[in-house]
């Protein structure tokens, strides 16, 4: 009997401990507001976005490994073709080992939209919507217009030469929005919940529509149009080396993600 209680206690402790890593990832609140989307609902009018929470960084190889440990059907050897192309985690050493090419703290890439969607659900969240992601991405602060222009041209440089061979750690770009969300540029492309919004039948992916998009005229419009076009070229099974993701959560949080970092600071 004693043994049995001990056994249950050990199990409970193990469960608590195993729950911990999945809580470690930080999310921050992005207060609601509006922004000028390059795909406005009404021409010239800003889009409203409600408050939500978003992961500070993209999901890493080590975090994705945890997900695969608990969810075998998303492993490379088991995922059905409906959910991912053949490139799915192709660069990993095996089902559960990211390997040398994929450092633990680098963002996971070569993951399909379906896998990203399942991961965020497992985390108690969801993928950010296209509008949420874009809204967060333009919440940057610059002291002068010159600085913002310099940043915009740097961004274009990055979009034209995305290097998937050597993806650095999450948090390494130094690019951060005013609420603390990191690396929305400069590291990888990211899945969003509705990455291919419905377009009118007259909408064509060509230079004309690119030109119309750019007329939005704000700092990010050109870089943003490149992003929209790139996304629209994906299918949900796409698994290229440049695509990863981060998760979002509805506000108010059902789980105590937000207070976790503070708690850790208080404890020795």
């Amino acid at each position: 009997m004693k043994n049995r209680i001990l056994h249950i206690l050990t199990l409970a402790a193990a469960l608590l401990l195993s729950a911990r890593p999945s809580m470690a990832q930080e999310a921050v609140e992005i207060p609601g507001g509006s922004f000028h989307s390059i795909l406005p609902e009404v021409e010239g009018k800003p889009l409203e976005v409600e408050s939500f929470y978003m992961d500070v960084t993209a999901v890493t190889n080590s975090e994705f490994t945890e997900f695969l440990m608990e969810n075998p059907r998303w492993r490379r050897s088991q995922i059905p073709a409906a959910f991912a192309g053949e490139g799915y985690l192709r660069h990993w050493q095996d089902d559960l080992t990211p390997g040398e090419e994929s450092p633990a703290d680098a963002p996971v890439t070569r993951v399909s939209w379906f896998a990203a969607n399942a991961y965020c659900g497992w985390k108690g969240g969801r993928l950010p919507t296209l509008d949420e992601w874009e809204y967060s991405a333009q919440l940057m602060e610059f002291d002068t217009p010159a600085q913002s222009n310099a940043f915009a041209s740097e961004l274009m440089g990055w979009y034209s030469t995305v290097n998937t061979d050597n993806i650095r750690s999450v948090g390494s770009t130094g690019i951060v929005n005013k609420y603390g969300v990191r690396d929305q540029f400069g590291l990888i492309m990211e899945w969003v919940e509705d990455f291919e919004p419905p377009m009118g039948s007259d909408f064509q992916l060509n230079c004309g529509s690119m030109g119309r998009m750019q007329q939005a005229g704000n700092l990010y419009s050109y870089a943003a149009s490149v992003r929209y076009m790139t996304r629209m070229s994906f299918t949900p099974q796409t698994t290229t080396g440049m695509i990863g993701f981060r998760c979002a959560y509805d506000a108010p949080l059902t789980r105590n993600l937000y207070s976790e970092p503070a708690l850790r600071e208080v404890l020795p």
């Binding site: 609902e41 059905p80 073709a81 409906a82 959910f83 969607n117 969801r126 919940e193 509705d194 377009m199």
Partner: protein
Amino acid sequence: MKKFTILLPILLTFLIADVLGQQPDRMPARAEASINEYSVYQSDAQWTNQRNEIVQLRYFIGKPAVVTMFYGNCLQVCPILIRDANRIYEAVDESLRDQVQVLAITFDPENDTPEALRDYANRYELNHPQWHFLTGSPAPIRELAMLLGVQYRKDSYGHYSHSNQVFVLDDEGVIVHTLEGLNQPVEEAAAWIEEHLKRSNTHNTVDIIGKLN
């Protein structure tokens, strides 16, 4: 007797749970062994239909299905999508029609509760046993749309812009035919279903489906 009145609701609960739970519980075992890699029915999410029955998509393995996505507050386009699905259904020979399943999945789980879906089905006189108006959680709805290739986006007025497609799925849940746009001809889709059913019926020495019905 008193004991019985206490027991009855409990027994009923078990009985209902059993009936509801039976199909989702039973199907995965079969599905995991044989489900097609490209099947739209891969997802293990739970859905609720207009009869308040909880189903998994794997439940629909074994018979062809006509599938579309819609939402109840959509008054112009969606009734046409539903009608198009029904046009395929009705174009199938009457002797085979009860072997065709029709799935209409909502974009709008907030408003399209099982009760609202039941009213919708009744309004269009489509509350047939093999018709399933389905609602679920937002993530599985998006996942299913991605599997089908349906695009949708909610606007600030609570309406959805969406692409218009009606699909025919084979008995494994693989898309075999797509009607792109509204009011398309349905003969080809219906002919595929009829041929497929005739073929599989002759292959089955014991007509299980017929027996169940």
